[in-house]
């Protein structure tokens, strides 16, 4: 078999990663991606097995000597960026074992389905407000004019960030997140460090304000944890930054690709219009069909068998959730968008101890948004085929021009 043309920064990949994923899935063994020294896994069973394997870690810094850690950091081009190292390279997502369990437990309560359900009225009011503001528009960019405003506003409310500051947090988040992808240029590096520094200084002010006058928000509770010695102030800042970053981009991306899927498959959109109670299944299918964070990595901490062969400790694996979620071995008619798909055991939220903390919030944002759009607009049409973001780590349309018809 010819070697697949795996170039995640190419226009071809951005246009249709699923064709490339299918080529990788057809290989007998995992594909070795030399550029980042990583074995790419694309089959659902293999991706899931690694995500659930407790000896596979997101971060292996704790197993390295200081010199090895520095060398690793340099290899990733994550060196010489002190704020990034302190608050982005070290956080809940990048921790393991006791530290990860402790930090996750401190914030988990705020993200349970029951707690998140309390945000429904807030989300509805904000979505209505945004759509009222578009009342004189028959066409608009679904992503930039509408969807991009929602997740940041809501996660800002959960944390306790004033509404007026949410747009700036999105800017910082995107500047930091951009430097996670496989292409890591110098300009992006400087931007990521500068954004982290400004983000940090902003959060310090907010921490001080909540310490002085606590409110009913996550920031106040984290300050309480901090003052009781359950987390350090650096951990508080890093956790907040992570939640804010995670709460922005990926939900915006899946809102865009989800809307696009409904427009590409009008019969499925009609099914949802005919039976709005399908919304939970439809949202899960949007996550499966175009997983907004299609790629995460794990390191083996011991010699391990993966996909039928042995790999040495230290091997880096790429978990291509986006590919696993189109694996025909797990999903019948995997390339078909089906709003009634059930069961739908997709891996878009990852798996194992790092399972997406904010999944209920993202799903509720989407539930309210698509239900409201269908109620307000009897017809929604695509004006122009969208271009998707380039890269391996994110998946979503850059813009999505739609035309709406009101009753």
């Amino acid at each position: 078999m010819t070697r697949p043309d795996f170039d995640p920064l190419s226009a071809r990949f951005a246009q249709d990663p699923h064709a490339v994923y299918a080529e990788l899935r057809a290989l007998d063994a995992p594909y070795y991606y030399e550029d980042v020294d990583t074995w790419m896994l694309t089959k659902a069973a293999e991706v899931e097995a690694v995500a659930l394997n407790k000896t596979m870690v997101r971060n292996r810094d704790h197993l390295l000597s200081e010199a090895e850690r520095k060398a690793e950091q340099r290899k990733l081009n994550w060196h010489d960026m002190p704020h990034h190292e302190r608050f982005v390279q070290t956080n809940l997502l990048e921790s393991e074992g006791e530290t990860h369990a402790r930090l996750r437990k401190l914030v988990f309560r705020e993200f349970t389905a029951a707690m998140i359900a309390r945000q429904r009225d807030t989300i509805q009011a904000f979505v209505d407000h945004l759509l009222d503001g578009l009342a004189d528009r028959d066409t608009f960019d679904f992503v930039e004019d509408f969807a991009a405003h929602v997740p940041g506003h809501i996660i800002g409310r959960v944390i306790g960030v004033p509404d007026v500051d949410c747009p700036q947090l999105r800017v910082w988040s995107e500047q930091v997140v951009r430097f996670f992808d496989v292409g890591r240029g110098e300009a992006d590096k400087q931007l990521a460090e500068q954004a982290t520094k400004e983000f940090y200084e902003y959060l310090l002010t907010l921490v001080a304000a909540r310490r002085k006058a606590p409110r009913e928000d996550l920031m106040s509770r984290m300050v309480e944890h901090c003052d009781a010695g359950r987390m350090s102030e650096d951990e508080l800042v890093a956790t907040t930054m992570l939640i804010l970053m995670a709460g922005h981009g990926s939900t915006i991306d899946v809102l865009g690709s989800g809307m696009h899927a409904l427009l590409r498959f009008p019969d499925q959109h009609q099914k949802l219009r005919d039976d709005p109670t399908l919304i939970n299944l439809a949202v899960q299918e949007m996550f499966r069909f175009e997983s907004p964070l299609p790629y995460f990595h794990r390191f083996a901490t011991e010699d391990t068998e993966v996909a039928g062969r042995m790999f040495e400790a230290g091997t880096r694996f790429g978990l291509l959730y986006g590919a696993a979620n189109r694996d025909p071995a797990r999903f019948e008619k995997a390339d078909q968008f089906d709003v009634t798909r059930s069961p739908n055991r997709h891996l878009a939220f990852g798996g194992g101890t790092h399972f997406c903390l904010g999944n209920h919030l993202a799903r509720l944002d989407m539930d309210v948004i698509f239900t409201t759009l269908n109620q307000r607009f009897p017809r929604i049409e695509l004006v122009q085929e969208p271009t998707y973001k380039p890269g391996l780590s994110v998946r979503g349309p850059i813009a999505l021009e739609i035309a709406v018809r009101r009753p």
């Binding site: 659930l52 309560r109 349970t112 389905a113 029951a114 798996g351 194992g352 101890t353 790092h354 399972f355």
Partner: protein
């Protein structure tokens, strides 16, 4: 072979075969019990495989560890017989185990 009976919230009874080494969650998922969502896949990280162990079986199972007890604080309608099914490893002694399944995890 070990047999586990799941009683769903609407009263439907499902008998499932279990092999040692599986978790009760895996047995439920394989048997198509939709209310055992088990979204994290079995890492005690999401709290969506909550179930109620039948009273007569509660004391026969290995008690939950701290991680599971902490997570049980977050499930809907916990009772003293609440467990996370991903944390119950099947043993041959569990033949005849009865599990009551909640209507939903959210």
């Amino acid at each position: 072979m070990t047999k586990i009976t799941f009683i769903e919230a609407d009263g439907t009874t499902v008998e499932a075969k279990a092999e040692p080494g599986m978790s009760v969650m895996q047995v439920a998922v394989n048997a198509g019990i939709a209310a055992i969502a088990a979204e994290c896949g079995g890492a005690c990280a999401c709290g969506t495989c909550h179930c109620y162990v039948a009273d007569e079986w509660v004391d026969k199972l290995t008690p939950p560890e701290d991680d599971e007890t902490d997570m049980l604080d977050f499930v809907i309608d916990p009772t003293p017989s609440s467990r996370l099914s991903c944390q119950i490893a099947v043993t041959p002694e569990m033949d005849g185990l009865v599990i009551n399944v909640p209507s939903s995890q959210t």
